[in-house]
């Protein structure tokens, strides 16, 4: 098909008119988000009310959700995920804040060096670093157990018993993400005007007083941001348990994300997997609202 020169020209002119231009430039984004975000969100909701039987999908109402709420493995996944959330997120954010405060202390030299090296873990692929930790956590020959026994402790079978397996995951995630959150918090710390600290110092405030009365309240919005993103990340935890523990032993480390994967892509139970996904959306919604509420108080 050949297009006349005049036609091309007028198309070009129409594209460039102030009225049309925004629509042309935003169109790819809108199309992508409608196709790969809006449609899947709706489709997933519909699937969560369906069941695949005898070669067709049929509407089964709330059945998937009812089964889900009686599913012991789902409860294990839920409990594990919440355990990671409650233990890991506060430890990590606290650690990230302390490191950020230390690096920002005026007299500390080599700021760029500390920042860069502590941020370094967060450039790694989750699968890659999990593999390294798998070797380090090895029950018989891992370096971590070697250090523990050199210090007089007993070797820990990290991946074969419940609690050690959970902690191996918590330790690994903390290694990977603390520096990342530290960098975000650093930006917040740098925005606090120096004069606030100076007047506090004149009033005789020490390190802890400054931390609790000035730093924490001033970076509260950023603390909230890092907590919310960490929460969303933890709820979707997948790569680390996949590599380190495969969700075991006896589902002791399985996460909601992993259970969704198993149901959707190992057992090909799309309806059930979608129901799990929607419970995840619901939990993230509730937790985000809660975290905003806590911040307001």
């Amino acid at each position: 098909m050949k297009r006349g020169k005049g036609e091309t020209k007028s198309l070009w002119r129409r594209l460039n008119s102030l009225k049309n231009f925004p629509y042309f430039l935003i169109a790819p984004t809108v199309i992508i988000f409608v196709v790969f975000m809006v449609y899947p969100i709706v489709y997933s909701l519909i699937l969560s009310f369906q069941e695949f039987k005898h070669g067709t999908y049929r509407f089964v109402g709330l059945k998937n959700y009812i089964v889900l709420f009686k599913d012991p493995i789902f409860y294990k996944a839920l409990m594990n995920t919440f355990f990671y959330l409650i233990v890991q997120v506060p430890i990590m954010i606290g650690l990230a804040l302390i490191i950020a405060v230390f690096v920002e202390e005026k007299y500390v030299k080599g700021k760029a060096f500390w920042r860069t090296s502590i941020f370094l873990p967060s450039i790694t692929a989750l699968v890659a670093y999990a593999l390294v930790f798998k070797v380090l956590f090895n029950g018989d020959y891992g370096l971590i157990n070697y250090v523990i026994s050199a210090l007089g402790g007993d070797k820990v079978q990290w991946f074969y018993s419940k609690w050690p397996a959970r902690f191996s995951i918590i330790i690994s995630i903390t290694w990977r993400w603390t520096g990342y959150n530290m960098i975000i918090l650093l930006a917040g710390l740098q925005a606090i005007p120096e004069s606030v600290y100076e007047s506090a110092a004149i009033d005789g405030a020490g390190f802890w007083k400054k931390l609790t009365y000035i730093t924490v309240p001033m970076v509260k919005p950023i603390l909230l941001f890092t907590t919310i993103t960490s929460t969303i990340g933890t709820l979707q935890l997948f790569d680390e348990p996949y590599v380190l523990t495969q969700g075991g032993p006896d589902y002791a480390t399985i996460t909601i994300g992993q259970y969704l994967y198993n149901n959707g892509f190992v057992y090909m139970n799309f309806g059930y997997a979608s129901a799990i996904g929607y419970v995840m959306v619901f939990i993230i919604g509730i937790l985000s609202v809660l975290q905003f509420k806590i911040k307001d108080n």
Binding site: L15, F33, V35, F36, F102, V103, Y141, D239
Partner: protein, 280 residues
């Protein structure tokens, strides 16, 4: 009294330096361990204590790895999805960011509001519908199947929009008065002036795709299509002749490019993490 506080603060300084030194050591050591383990034998790694220095088995491990994994092809696959994804994302998101920041049009609030809200949606919820859509489009086990759905990345749009906000509107208007077309203004005035933000976006998109695991794991079925994270997981998941030296070598090969990019483009990495605000 004055002496006392001085002494106290000096102890404080030492404590802080020790703390930072330990944290740094813990952060860097696993990298060191990964790299040296790739040059040792499986037995060196599985001994008490594991060998902690470089060994002479790099070439041998490399040969063993080549028998289990097509290193070049995996590198090509990972590069291909990461580069194509990044290029598309940069073009699409910078256009969207510019429009959302600088134009008033019907639907702007709805579009931006939705993009902000969708940051709260866990991506995993989308995987089942994406997978079914990819089956429908015949794009399972293809690199385009990995790339296309991942383009619905709210953070990328948000990052560009935030950076376009601070672009001087006066410049755009001046170009308009001078008779520059909207397209030309965008390409030759706006884009060249937001290079730092583009840099942050490039690094962010590239590394997130390079490191991506779950979606490629779902969509890719054949070994010849695997990207590094999937290939690594498969290498580890294969119980026959498990050799940690070979696995650590593969992990090093997958990590090295990102490490080099990071050391060169640190500022952009950090800016990507912080929503694109590029500062000294």
């Amino acid at each position: 009294m004055v002496n006392d506080t001085k002494k106290k603060s000096r102890i404080g300084h030492v404590v802080i330096y020790i703390f930072l030194a330990i944290t740094t050591f813990i952060s860097i050591f696993p990298f060191y361990f990964m790299f040296i383990s790739g040059s040792n034998t499986n037995k060196d790694i599985l001994s008490n204590p594991p060998k902690l220095s470089f060994g002479p088995y790099l070439a041998e491990n490399f040969k063993m790895l080549s028998e289990r994994m097509d290193i070049l092809l995996t590198t090509y696959n990972t590069l291909f999805v990461s580069i194509v994804y990044t290029l598309l994302a940069v073009f699409i998101y910078s256009a969207a960011g510019y429009i959302l920041a600088k134009f008033n049009f019907v639907g702007r609030t709805v579009i931006f509001g939705f993009i902000m809200l969708s940051m709260m949606i866990p991506t995993q919820v989308l995987y089942v519908p994406w997978f079914k859509m990819m089956i429908g489009a015949g794009m399972t086990d293809s690199h385009w199947g990995v790339i296309l759905p991942m383009l619905a990345n709210s953070f990328g749009v948000f990052l560009m929009r935030q950076n376009m906000l601070s672009f001087p509107t006066a410049l755009i208007e001046a170009a308009r008065i001078d008779g520059s077309t909207e397209t030309r203004t965008f390409f030759s005035i706006v884009l060249p002036n937001v290079k730092p933000a583009l840099g942050a976006l490039v690094i962010y998109m590239f590394t997130s795709m390079w490191n991506n695991f779950m979606w490629p794991l779902i969509i890719l079925g054949s070994k010849t299509k695997y990207t590094f994270p999937v290939a690594l997981a498969m290498l580890d998941g294969n119980p026959t002749n498990k050799n940690y030296a070979v696995i650590m070598l593969a992990t090093s090969i997958a990590t090295l490019p990102i490490l080099i990019i990071f050391l060169i483009f640190q500022k952009q990495f950090v800016a990507g993490v912080m929503g694109g605000s590029v500062k000294e």
